[in-house]
C-alpha cells in the first residue's frame, strides 16, 4: 500500500470521514443559500459592492444574484443525499476558491484605502452571514475547502443515493 493510499484510508475512517465532511459542506451551502434567499435584494446590493460586474451588463450581476442562492441550496441538498458526490464537491471547491479570491481582493482594497491591517477589515461579504471579520471568513472558507477536498478525493459511497452520476463503463 502506498503512503498516499494509506493516508486516504486513514482519513476515510471506514467511510464515516467523507460522509461527515459531505454533510457539513452540504449543510453549510444549504444554510448560506437559504440566508441569501431570505433577502435577494440585499444579496444583489452586496454583490454590486465587489465591483466585479460591468455596469453596462446588469444581466450578469442580476443572474448571479438570482442563481447563486438556489444552486447552493440544490447542490448542497444533493451532496448531503449523496448524489453526484465528487462532481458537486469539485463544483463547490471551484466556487469557494472564486468566492475567497473575491473576498481577499475586496478586503485588500478596503485595508489599503482605510490604512488598516488586513485582519481588521470587516464587511458583509454577501455570504449570508452578515458583517464578518474577513480573516475569520477566509479561515472558514479554508476549512470548507479542506472538507471539499476530502469529499473529492474519497471513493467512499457510504449512505449515498447515487454517488456517481456518470458511472465507469463496464
Amino acid at each position: 500500500m502506498s503512503d498516499a493510499t494509506g493516508f486516504k484510508e486513514r482519513l476515510s475512517l471506514n467511510g464515516w470521514g467523507p460522509l461527515i465532511a459531505r454533510c457539513i459542506l452540504g449543510g453549510m451551502f444549504v444554510w448560506l443559500g437559504t440566508a441569501k434567499l431570505g433577502d435577494p435584494v440585499q444579496f444583489l446590493k452586496t454583490l454590486r459592492e465587489y465591483g466585479m460586474f460591468p455596469s453596462s451588463m446588469p444581466f450578469l450581476m442580476n443572474s448571479t444574484a438570482a442563481w447563486l442562492p438556489w444552486i447552493e441550496i440544490f447542490a448542497g441538498t444533493l451532496l448531503i443525499a449523496g448524489v453526484a458526490v465528487r462532481g458537486i464537491a469539485l463544483m463547490f471547491l471551484t466556487m469557494l476558491i472564486v468566492f475567497s479570491s473575491a473576498i481577499f481582493l475586496r478586503a485588500s482594497g478596503v485595508a489599503s484605502a482605510d490604512d488598516i491591517s488586513f485582519c481588521a477589515v470587516a464587511f458583509d461579504c454577501g455570504c449570508g452571514t452578515g458583517e464578518q471579520n474577513v480573516c475569520a471568513k477566509l479561515g472558514e472558507n479554508v476549512l470548507l475547502i479542506l472538507l471539499g477536498a476530502i469529499v473529492l478525493l474519497s471513493r467512499s459511497r457510504k449512505l449515498c443515493l447515487r454517488g456517481d452520476l456518470i458511472r465507469k463503463p463496464a
Partner: protein, 212 residues
C-alpha cells in the same frame, strides 16, 4: 486521468442542470429578481461635478457651461462623501434634496393630513413595517409592481412628494424618485430626504408601525 475526466463531466452536468432549475426557481419565487432589469441605473446617471472635497483637479466636467454646482452642505455639518455624491447625482437628474427641518415642517403642516404632501418610504416591506414616518406609503424600487399604482394615484393630488430610505449611503430613495419621474410625475414635485429614517428617529419624531 479518465476518472478525473468523469468527475469533471459530472460537475459540468450537475452545474448545467442545476443552473436551469435555479433560474426557474427564481422566476417562480415571490421575491425573485428580474434578471433583465437595470436596478442600479439611477446610480450611474451622469454626475455633473464632484463635490468640492472629492474633486479631482485633473477632471473637468464634460460641459462646464451646463455643469450644476452641488448644493453646499449646511455650515458646521460634517460632509458625508456618500451623501455629497447622492446630492450631486440628484441635481444632475433634476431632482432636489430635502433638508431635515423642511421635511419636519411639511410633516407638521395641517395640509399633510389632507394629502398635500406625500411621503414615500423606499425601504423594503419588512423595514417599513418595523417603523416608518406616519402616513407614508411604501414603494420598493426592486419590487415596483407591489405599490407603484397606489403611490402614483396619491401623487396626483400631492403638491410635494418626499421620498426617503435609511439615510447615509442608502440610494433606494434616489432610485424610487427616478421611478416616479418615469411614471410621469414632475421632478419639481419630488424631494429626496437624505437624512432618511435614521435622521427622523434621531430627532425623536413620531413613528408608525405596521403595513398600509
Amino acid at each position: 486521468m479518465r476518472e478525473w475526466k468523469r468527475v469533471i463531466a459530472e460537475a459540468l452536468v450537475v452545474f448545467a442542470v442545476l443552473t436551469v432549475i435555479a433560474f426557474l426557481a427564481n422566476a417562480q419565487h415571490d421575491d425573485g429578481l428580474d434578471v433583465t432589469r437595470d436596478y442600479f441605473a439611477a446610480q450611474r446617471k451622469p454626475v455633473a461635478k464632484k463635490p468640492v472635497e472629492d474633486a479631482d483637479p485633473r477632471e473637468e466636467p464634460e460641459d462646464p457651461e451646463n455643469a450644476t454646482e452641488p448644493k453646499k452642505p449646511e455650515e458646521n455639518s460634517p460632509v458625508d462623501p456618500a451623501e455629497a455624491e447622492i446630492r450631486a447625482r440628484l441635481e444632475a437628474n433634476g431632482l432636489k434634496a430635502a433638508e431635515h427641518d423642511q421635511v419636519v415642517e411639511w410633516f407638521q403642516d395641517p395640509a399633510y393630513q389632507a394629502g398635500a404632501y406625500l411621503f414615500v418610504d423606499a425601504r423594503n416591506e419588512r423595514t417599513f413595517a418595523e417603523g416608518h414616518i406616519p402616513g407614508a406609503l411604501q414603494l420598493d424600487h426592486f419590487y415596483l409592481d407591489r405599490g407603484i399604482e397606489q403611490v402614483v394615484q396619491a401623487a396626483q393630488s400631492a403638491a410635494v412628494i418626499v421620498v426617503y430610505c435609511n439615510g447615509g449611503d442608502c440610494t433606494d430613495s434616489e432610485s424610487v424618485a427616478l421611478d416616479l419621474v418615469d411614471q410621469g410625475i414632475s421632478p419639481d414635485q419630488i424631494h429626496v430626504y437624505l437624512g432618511g429614517i435614521k435622521a427622523w428617529r434621531a430627532a425623536d419624531l413620531p413613528i408608525e408601525e405596521g403595513t398600509r
